[in-house]
């Protein structure tokens, strides 16, 4: 079915047009025209501005154009798509559409491209003015082409994420995208060409297209926005890297959306998909870091002639990111206990082994193995000196994933609707309270017992690792896991007995 025969797309197009697009396009035109007028004004009277060249003026005005474009297309488009799907789900129209012979992919395409048409029109108007500004500012056409491709790719990627949000939540989509930017923003400046977030959101790609050596020297003396990022030491165009990552992750999101549309009772992520996604993300991140240590961590990082904010903190930051992504994947792939109970009724299984293979606990083990393997790439040529660091960090990740998976399922089984609150409470007790106690009593020993601490300490505090304390801390955390496992097993047994 062609796009212009897709009823969902056509209906949303009709709804967008009915609500009016002219005003929105006029606003975009006005913004674009104002920026173009600014450049023309500079060209006619350069003395009135503080730009050193036509190119710099062009870049400044074009920078504003793409800033507004990103705001409209990525942020606005995301919210629009997420809200359209959430509203239709609430109204029962999503189910009505699902009961038609339309294929899940056709439904997804309709919701992906239809509700955000107004934002596409606005972006198109802005892109037109952007082209004129680029040409008038004597800037290379590749700047316009590269930035537009990146913005379009990101808009489509975020459209898919918006559908995911609309499918999973009834509201708060705006907060979600705010959190994504809030999460990504601080990392953008730690080591621009090294952080994966800078490529998932095309921050580095756009910055790189804009930067020239002179501008870099002027404005970004402490940062690295020039040159190409490297994957295991091989240079790659940032535009290609961003689009490639968005394409791969977008494909997983697409699969999840199509599967959920066909059968809404399945988990959002299949277990192999969660593992594959984790592999892609961690492999890319560690590949971007590769040439710093070339497998010889904790040897001093190589400089490669670039300025880094603080290269020694990168591995602990990546360790933290690994935790967050692992926990998110576990949450998405964790089965609903009710679904497992119904499956046990249907298939007749009653043994805990069958539960284990369906639970997120086995997935936690798989993710820990992937995280360990990814970390190994940084230490593999210096294992004699870094074995303890590697072990502590890897075991710490294993413990965190296991605690989260066990806690999530235990709370879902025991507290049902209040589960998330209890998960947050227990994670707060296990991870944050020790830091608060350390502050209150001015004693760092408290901070060491936090579930988060061992890995960070091993990777960052290399001069004073105190391996003995680390070992006992890990052992104590393992005790927590054993207790959780006992409770988790008991809850599942109860549920299975109910199923019988």
């Amino acid at each position: 079915m062609k796009l212009f025969e897709n009823p969902v797309f056509l209906t949303h197009k009709r709804l967008v047009h009915r609500n009016g697009v002219l005003a929105a396009v006029l606003i975009a035109t006005l913004i674009g025209f104002s920026l173009l007028a600014g450049l023309i004004s500079y060209l006619t009277d350069p003395g009135a501005f503080h730009f050193s060249s036509v190119q710099e003026a062009g870049k400044t005005f074009y920078g504003w154009v793409i800033g507004v474009e990103i705001l409209v297309l990525v942020v606005g488009g995301f919210s629009r798509v997420a809200r359209a799907l959430a509203d239709d789900r609430k109204a029962g129209l999503w189910d009505s559409n699902r009961l038609t012979p339309l294929k899940p992919a056709q439904l997804i395409i309709g919701y992906w491209l239809g509700p955000a048409l107004r934002e596409f029109y606005m972006a198109a108007a802005l892109a037109g003015f952007g082209l004129v500004i680029v040409l008038a500012g004597h800037l290379p056409l590749t700047l316009w082409l590269g930035t537009q491709v990146l913005i379009a790719g990101t808009a489509l990627f975020f459209g898919l994420l918006g559908l995911l949000a609309g499918m999973a939540f009834q509201r708060s989509q705006g907060i979600l995208i705010f959190l994504v930017f809030l999460f990504a923003y601080p990392f953008s400046f730690i080591a621009p060409s090294r952080m994966l977030t800078n490529f998932l959101l095309p921050i580095y790609g756009i910055g790189n297209l804009f930067s020239s050596r002179s501008l870099s020297e002027t404005y970004h003396s402490n940062m690295d926005w020039n040159g190409l990022p490297e994957i295991f030491g091989v240079p790659i165009y940032p535009v290609v890297l961003s689009l490639g990552l968005q394409l791969i992750i977008g494909a997983f999101v697409w699969r999840a959306l199509v599967r959920k549309t066909a059968n809404p009772f399945q988990p959002l992520l299949l277990r192999w998909e969660a593992v594959a996604l984790f592999v892609v993300l961690l492999a890319s991140q560690h590949a971007l870091l590769w040439d710093l240590w070339r497998g010889q961590f904790p040897m001093p990082a190589t400089n490669s002639g670039r300025n880094y904010f603080d290269r020694e903190t990168l591995l602990p930051v990546v360790h933290g990111g690994t935790m967050v992504i692992g926990i998110l994947l576990l949450a998405f792939a964790s089965p609903s206990p009710e679904h497992v109970r119904v499956e046990s009724l249907r298939l007749g299984f009653k043994n805990p082994g069958a539960i284990f293979s369906r639970s997120a606990v086995s997935l936690a083990l798989a993710l820990a193995v992937v995280a360990g393997a990814a970390l190994l790439t940084q230490v593999m040529f210096s294992l004699a000196g870094s074995f303890q660091i590697f072990c502590v960090a890897a075991v710490n990740l294993l413990e965190i994933f296991l605690v989260f998976a066990l806690l999530l399922e235990f709370c879902r089984l025991r507290h049902r609707r209040r589960a998330l609150g209890f998960v947050a409470l227990w994670l707060f007790i296990l991870c944050i309270i020790p830091f608060i106690l350390a502050g209150v009593f001015s004693n760092q020993a408290f901070a060491r017992i936090s579930l988060l601490s061992p890995g960070f300490l091993a990777l960052s505090d290399r001069n004073d690792p105190e391996w003995r304390i680390q070992f006992w801390t890990l052992l104590a955390h393992f005790g927590v896991i054993v207790l959780l496992f006992i409770g988790w097993r008991r809850q599942w047994k109860k549920l299975l007995q109910k199923a019988v």
Partner: protein, 309 residues
Amino acid sequence: MPDPLLAIERLRVDFPEVVAVNDLSLALEPGDVCGLIGPNGAGKTTTMRAISGLQEFTRGSVRVGGHELAREPDELKKRLGFMPDFCPTYDQLTASEFLEHFARAFAVANRTQRIEECLELTWLTDKRNSPCEELSRGMKQRLVLAKTLLPDPQVLLLDEPASGLDPLGRIELRKILLQLHDAGKAVLISSHILSELSGFCNKAAIMERGRLVKFGTIAELGRQMGSRRMSVKWRVDTGAALEILSSSGAVKNLEAAGFGAAFDFEGEPDALDELLKTLVVQGVRVCEWRGDGDELEQIFLQSGAKELM
């Protein structure tokens, strides 16, 4: 023997604290209009959602025109129309645009003509250009019914279709259902207002706490009833009427009141017809002869189905 149009076998739906539908089996043939009756919470809506594929079921099978839901969901979608108990519409579209959306989705041939037919069938022709948000609840309900009828499905699941309709709308709904019956469609229609269903259902399925308590044709279920409360009135009191009634072995609890009587009849429907014939032949001028409450209501009351506590 050909497959029934709708065949449900041992359907079971589990909710966290309750078995919403338990071991439900029923079959509908072409032309069947079956009332799915039960108190609130009996599992009627869940049953319909499970048949349409919107609700995951634990066990059992659903077949429409020989196509099983689990194996051929797309074939099922072409043959089954589901009208939910609320009215999902795109508020800013007009009635005809709303129907056009679904006509495209179902790849309906002669789209414009079919939309007009469905609008006419549901008495919405003059509302074709009205936005859905301006339609009353009853009109929206008729519009959703029109949407359900658009692809001309073989099997229709109508969940409380008359709940928002005015008396005229209910009469029209009856006409539509009779047309569907004549066209050989199978219709499963749920309601807890029994008077809505009487008159056009030839089958009834009574649910209680997720279980199918009774299922069969109205005649069969009538025969299964232990007794039926009847009332009779006549014009001239000759004493013969009471004598005939009291002499019938099937008449119990006879209560005379002026020119009339009420009694429980324990016998086959044919025997009841015979009793009336005897009264008339013996010269009793019968001016009223009716069951107390309609037939479905009596079947339901005698099934023992109760409100869920």
